[in-house]
Symmetry: C2
Subunit: 282 residues, 2 copies
DNA sequence: ACGTGCTGATACCCCGGCGGTATCAGCGCA
DNA sequence: TGCGCTGATACCGCCGGGGTATCAGCACGT
């Protein structure tokens, strides 16, 4: 009745992404006619037109866009399911925790120590990944839990446990006039001509256009701030790695940042549950 | 390679739930041999043993339990995908909002009014359901958004927007000695021999054992409290429907309750987004 | 000890459906 | 008006899912 097979969803997503049956077919490694037929069958079974095929190409209909979102999530979930099942078999007492460079290191260390002291604790493998990669790692099953930051990271679809909430601070060169202030507002530090804010790479590795220098790690950032070339807005715990050439000034109107432990919703894994229990201090 | 077909997942879940191949097969409406073969194929493809079949029946292995969680979520997601796609086609400008009896009615009314005033607002259908049903409605695609309460409802897997946070109050018969107090603690009102706390039905419609009366709606509760037979702990906005025979006393140590608007993670639906934007006051 | 009834696994067959090739049909364009 | 491109249709072959019949292990009974 309403049994969307994953094969159909794969086909549908390919067509929806290419908006071109022939190209989608060769991407899938099949011929075009079976693909056309599969999509037609899907449309007939759902009783819904998913694509408009008029002169000048193929476009998604409204319901088609809805299904595209759902199908992508389902396909992610199936490959995640396979991966997690295999990992549960090959490494039954191992837990992969994804974190990104720049999240509170002491917090993680304390968490890991506390968890290791638990009876029956699993071996925890820490996976460092780039900005925003944790969500993908969690979604596709390559990680079991992740350290993430609200409101920066997209926590939709995960269960979370708050670990720490902290203020944001502006990291300035010690010699800069604003470094003498005891607090600052976002307005005061945005668009400073002599101190453009540093730019991190996005999910795809590219940089947004802007005046600030392009950076990709913390040591680089530290160097550039010390040289007086840039500044950055980070959470208060970043103070731990500052140099004497840096000054951290609290930002009164920036949103508070929570570091949270996140894991796939409804994971009933005993190992994940154990780590979460420790993290929650219970 | 790692293409779990939904048919395989359906079969797997059936066996995992029945722990009996023959019964699972007849539940699926197929014969037992093809089912055994399908599970064997799945195990071979994953390279993982999902069931232990020894004398004395079939049991799930550790990896099997992992896959069961994942498979259930995936099957829910596929039927939700089909339902949402169909609804997007048949009622493109309609939104179903799930709420449970007892959640703040004024809040909902204000939200609906504000949304209706938006240009291009969709028609909103309000669906009243029992305790904890909203999550299922949202997950299986029968609802697009839901009003839920933290920490009571399970918000895992949803995106949320906080609407209102409020204190909890004890609703007592006006004549009761404790009704004269200006505040109470949880300890003071638990296990009162003369005022047992009322019991709501669980997800399956059954009641936990306890001394209090079994109730199933608000008017029943109001009646029983007025008669001095029971009491209840509810959020502060419940004051709006109290009678003169009721008294609400703030509970200083009960957790605050947030009424939140919840929707499926990563829903990019324009109609849902519109309602959320209004709810967020943006 | 031996049959009996239960389980799931195996063997074999059949047919529906998936994927392939060949071809058609609409449409833009030189 | 042909040419090139698109997706749709027609037809065919074969793999694989599902069926029946049967086997094999194991806990019972007497």
């Amino acid at each position: 009745m309403d049994t969307l097979e994953t094969r159909e969803l794969r086909y549908f997503v390919a067509v929806a992404e290419e908006l071109h049956f022939t190209r989608a077919a060769e991407r899938l490694g099949i011929a075009q006619p079976p693909l056309s037929r599969a999509i037609r069958q899907l449309e007939r079974r759902l009783g819904v037109t998913l694509f408009d095929r008029d002169r000048r190409g193929v476009t998604l209909t409204g319901p088609g866009r809805v299904l595209l979102d759902e199908a992508r999530a389902i396909l992610d979930a199936t490959s995640a399911a396979a991966r997690r099942t295999r990992r549960a078999a090959t490494a039954p007492h191992r837990l992969t925790l994804a974190t990104k460079a720049g999240t509170n290191h002491e917090l993680l260390q304390k968490l890991l120590e506390a968890y290791a002291a638990e009876p029956g604790a699993a071996e925890v493998e820490v996976l460092l990944c780039g900005m925003g990669d944790q969500a993908r790692m969690l979604r596709d099953g390559r990680a079991d839990v992740a350290l993430m930051q609200r409101p920066f990271d997209d926590l939709a679809g995960f269960d979370t446990e708050d670990l720490l909430t902290e203020q944001q601070v502006a990291i300035l060169p010690a010699g800069h006039p604003l470094a003498a202030r005891t607090s600052l507002t976002m307005a005061e530090i945005s668009d400073l001509p002599d101190l453009p804010v540093a730019r991190w790479p996005g999910q795809d590795g590219s940089y947004e256009p802007g005046p600030g220098p392009e950076i990709h790690d913390q040591s680089q950032l530290a160097q550039l701030i010390a040289l007086g070339h840039t500044m950055a807005v980070l959470c208060a715990s970043s103070r731990s790695w500052l140099w004497s050439a840096h000054t951290a000034v609290p930002l009164t109107d920036a949103p508070y940042v929570s570091t949270v432990l996140a894991w796939p919703a409804h994971s009933r894994s005993r190992t994940v549950a154990g780590l979460v229990r420790v993290a929650a201090g219970r």
